[in-house]
């Protein structure tokens, strides 16, 4: 059993025209880890997620997942390898019910990966919905959901692809105290089931409660990577958030 990281980001860089969104990002995530990723708005967090997951192509550097190079692999291939993400602004399939939404990753990621059909798809969708507390709305459309319910659906759909690593992109933004706790509990539960999680958030108490390791991104560069309590006391991290 090797110590190889599950996810390796090596020297990844991304520009948009003249604007440098990411420069020389180095990150390694171990299997089973809970990693927090924070940074001011515009620091490149979502761009990094997009590069890792294949929605955007990074110009420099490489990303490896479970030892495999991801270069040239489309987003759907990365999902099939076990890399899942939730979108910052939920993107449900609007003409499908919640259950049908969850069916998609099962049909297209899980079944393809295992090479055979999942035995009882309906039951699996039910389990996932129950896990996020949406079982009673299984046959409703996404437009009938509240904000937090949409976020939960987003996470449930990411989980439906049975990922080894899940990137949760600001799932808690704008939620109430209790709702934040809900999502936090959900993510901890998922991690306990063996899913490696990268949590991108602004809500510091959730980040500190969740993370075993904290990474800080500012203006496209990584400026800190280590124990959460130590990182938040780092001089440059404090300055990035409060100004100098």
């Amino acid at each position: 059993m090797s110590d190889a990281p599950l996810l390796e980001v090596n020297g990844v860089g991304k520009r948009f025209g003249g604007f440098i969104a990411l420069a020389d990002i180095e990150i390694a995530v171990q299997p089973g880890e809970r990693v927090g990723l924070i940074g001011p708005n515009g620091s490149g967090k979502s761009t990094l997620v997009n590069c890792i997951c294949g929605t955007l192509r990074n110009e420099t550097g490489s990303v490896r997942f479970a030892g495999q190079k991801l270069e040239g692999k489309a987003a759907h291939q990365r999902t099939r390898l076990g890399l899942a993400r939730s979108f910052q602004l939920p993107r449900p399939f609007t003409t499908m019910t919640l259950a049908e939404n969850l069916r998609v990753p099962i049909l297209y990621a899980v079944n393809v990966r295992s090479g055979h059909a999942t035995v009882d798809v309906e039951a699996r969708c039910d389990d996932l919905l129950r896990m996020v507390g949406l079982a009673d709305k299984a046959h409703r459309l996404p437009r009938d959901l509240t904000q937090i319910e949409m976020r939960k659906l987003e996470l449930a759909r990411a989980m439906a692809s049975e990922p080894r690593l899940l990137i949760s992109d600001e799932a808690m933004a704008g939620l109430s105290h209790g709702e934040v706790d809900d999502i936090l509990a959900l993510l901890l539960q998922l991690n306990a089931q063996g899913v490696t999680i990268i949590m991108i958030e602004h809500i510091m108490r959730a980040v500190l409660a969740f993370s075993q390791r904290l990474i800080v991104l500012v203006a496209g560069r990584k400026i800190a990577d280590g124990d959460p309590q130590a990182v938040v006391r780092q001089q440059d991290v404090v300055e990035a958030y409060l100004g100098s």
Binding site: A75, T79, V104, Y108, A109
Partner: protein
Amino acid sequence: MRNTSFIALLIAAAAAVFAAMLWVGNGYVFFAGYVVLQYIVLATAWNILGGYTGYVNFGVAAFFACGAYSTVVLHKLWGPPLVVMILVGGAVSGLIGLGTGYLTLRLRGTFFGIATLAMSVVAETLITNWQFVGGSRGAYIIRPEHAPHLPLDYIQYLCLVMLGLSVLAIATARAIEHSRLGVGFATIRDDELAAEASGVPTLRLKLIATVLSGGFMGMAGAPLPYYVTYLDPSSGFNLTYAVNTIAMPLIGGTATWLGPLIGAVLLGTLQQVATVTISSALSLLIVGLMLVGFVVAAPNGIIGWFKPAVRTSMRRLRGSR
């Protein structure tokens, strides 16, 4: 209802329609019927790409006319049976779909639409400059008197063939709807980015849709030279085909195979009647107005008027694999 039972039902319905046409006996029924059946195939084919995945193909004329012109080429070369010509027409148009799709489907849906529109003009330019098929002067095809192997006039035979294509097209559309492919198509329509993130190979599925759609349109065009007996680029690439093919599913409803069928039968019959009673130009105007009217005021089409009932029954029928 299982796919096999549905197909059996379709074939029975088609046989009944053909028997009814024979019973009426009037030659006009077959000439008009051919056009309506042709549009059933075209509308159903278009909807596989447009309705299911949300990618608009304006280049209907290119696929349709290329099917027709491949028949002209084969006819001049050695004249194989009609069924062979249909298969070749479908293959040629399917390849065109693959090529166009490969070049443009990585981009946004709107760019795809624009590319198909421009492609139509180019296809017409190429054919107009191709002397072998008659160029701008057109080509004459002699329609045989009788059908091969069957005691039918050739025009009746053409209708029978078109009925067969309709059954094939509708059966294919329904099979897609009830399969994993249909789920994938719907995710592309709803949110392509989320579809990719959920493991759906969007480019591959879009190419499949484009090839199927283009292929069926080519097959619908293949018998055309025998129907019209004179084919030139301006009639083969006529904008009317594109407008009708797009209007019919949008008016009937794009969500399932039933919409294009309803749209084609309704609009097709309306046009045949109007062409005889008022004028063909005016009947075209009506189509255009109906298209705009429905798209603005009734986006779910005629099926949408019965929507709740249709939606629940579709859900019960839709299985999963």
